[in-house]
Amino acid sequence: MSSVSNPAPSARLVGFLLVLPALAVIVGLFLMPLAISVIGAFRTPDGWGLANFTKSADLYSIDVLYTVGVIGLSTLLIGLLSIAIGGYLTLGENPRAVALLRWLYRWPLFIPFIVVGQMMRTFLAKNGLMNNVLVAAGLMAPLDTVSFLDWRGIVISFVWKQTPLVALLVAGAMASLDRGTIEAARNLGAGRLRILVEIVVPQVMPTLLVGLTLSFVTMMSVLSVPLMVASQSPTVITADIAFRINAYADYGVANALGVISLVITGGVAWFYLRHTMRERL
């Protein structure tokens, strides 16, 4: 980025000193306790070893895949919805509809995860408020109702809660784009959908990826939603971690699962890192 400029040789040191206080908080408060946990993952009753990991793989490999699937799908949907919302806010032609959407979409941002879990549990159930309203409106027969309290419930809750955050970032990025290219394309007769897909989205990709990374990582560590919406098996890794600790007081396997979760998020973060690196160099 062109904004990086400061040729002075001492700048590195100054810059490092400026970052230091914030970094110290993370390193001192989190990385140390985290290291204790990671070390704990390799500690077994019979000394050091990988027993906790083999047990995790043995009991929870399906859950790990399930977690990646559910959260991956949520992330994908969040991305698509954010693009749609951001796109309409940027390219929408009716100011009233745009204003309405702008007012509408960000409400879930304010609702904590635990409340989302509890709301969705009674909203998405077979005889929950959603189906009841649909039945009362004549859109559905009472016998056709189904419960969404399984993986779909988790996906719906996550998408509901996280989309506004990403949409907020994406819409901001879209709004700051150079209108010139968009107008030029429009004058050439390109449809709005095509402008969105071919011109707008590629330009806001970095912001979108950042938002999705943040969302993915946050969802990986949420416990309340899966517990309250669908705690049957298979379940997500955080629920297994909580179960390992609460039912067996087994910190070894819990820590091992934590490390597995960290590796998965690390993979996603690496993706993000590589992307920003390419941008910068």
């Binding site: 009991l59 077979k126 517990l227 705690s231 049957q232 909580a242 039912a247």
Partner: protein, 376 residues
Amino acid sequence: MKTLAFCALALGLTAGTAGATELTVATAGDQNMVDYINQYLAPIFEQQNPGDTVRAVGTGPGDAGSQKILERFQAQADAGVTSWDTDVAVVHQKFAGPMAEKGYLAKFRDDIATGKLVSSDMAKNALGTNVDGYVMPMFNSQTAIAYNPDLVKNPPTTYAELADWAAKHPKAFGYNGIKGGMSGVSFVMGWVYAFAGDGDKLQQGPFDPAEAAKWDDAFAKLKAFTANTTLTPGNAGTLDMLARGEIAMGPVWVDMFYTWEAGGQLPPNLKLVLPAPGMPGQPMYYVIPKDAAHKALAEKFVALATSPEVQAQGIVKKFNWYPGIDAQYVKANLSPEDWSKLFTDIGPDDLATKAKAFPITPYNNAILEAYERQVQ
């Protein structure tokens, strides 16, 4: 009038010299546990001990809540804190053993007057660990099968009948597996007692790893059974689905059931049944940390909480729990109607024969892990 004023003055003075103390009570369990301490017990205690106040902290429902208290104790012990920030804790049975074994608890039962009002084994032994002297039972909690009589005319009275019923009515029975709360765990333990033989051995020990081989059949059956049921999200989730008529039957905690019914969250016609050979229940214990900052006051608090009057009026009458101290002392403090209200759906005879304990900890863990391997 004058004497009254004098008494008040004297009380005020003693309170003044004793200094105002804040007693911290950490409690695991649902909202009703916090409510019980905040709205019922604390006002009585504060009236008896003017100047002192009680602060209740809820740590969350189920095992997770007790685990958090244990972890807190552990953190303070590891850090070498000499005056702990919890004076009284209310924990599930399963956690009393580890707490006592690790030396976090004070031995206080013999020091309080109500200590001798408990004769049952659960005050001495918590799932195979000797906790004699370290705990006072607050109340007993029991699981049972709740059902909707409109949908189930003849409720099953044994686990075998229940299995048949569920086979004939797919998805009408619901439970929360083992990861979503203790009512599901309790149902599974009852299943093992029913179909894998020696329940007594599981409850009393000693632990024999070879025992696990006998469970395979029971778990194979449970797997087939579970495929035919609805899995609910948590203890509250089972009650939710009962309330919305999505399932007709499911395992619940009896006290939670009554609380929901009283709170208007359940249709009033739902009923409970305890199928043979029985389902496990568990006590909640009052414990006092060894290094509690206000130990004397903490003992006073537990003594009050386990006194026959409080057990009768608070535990039984107001909150629908089975008493923690021996029934004979509590019964005397209640009208026969109030006492019999406890046994509306499940009679005393049923409770005597079918209210089981959870398996001792090593069996408990082995059963849960076998479930994770063989049923899910």
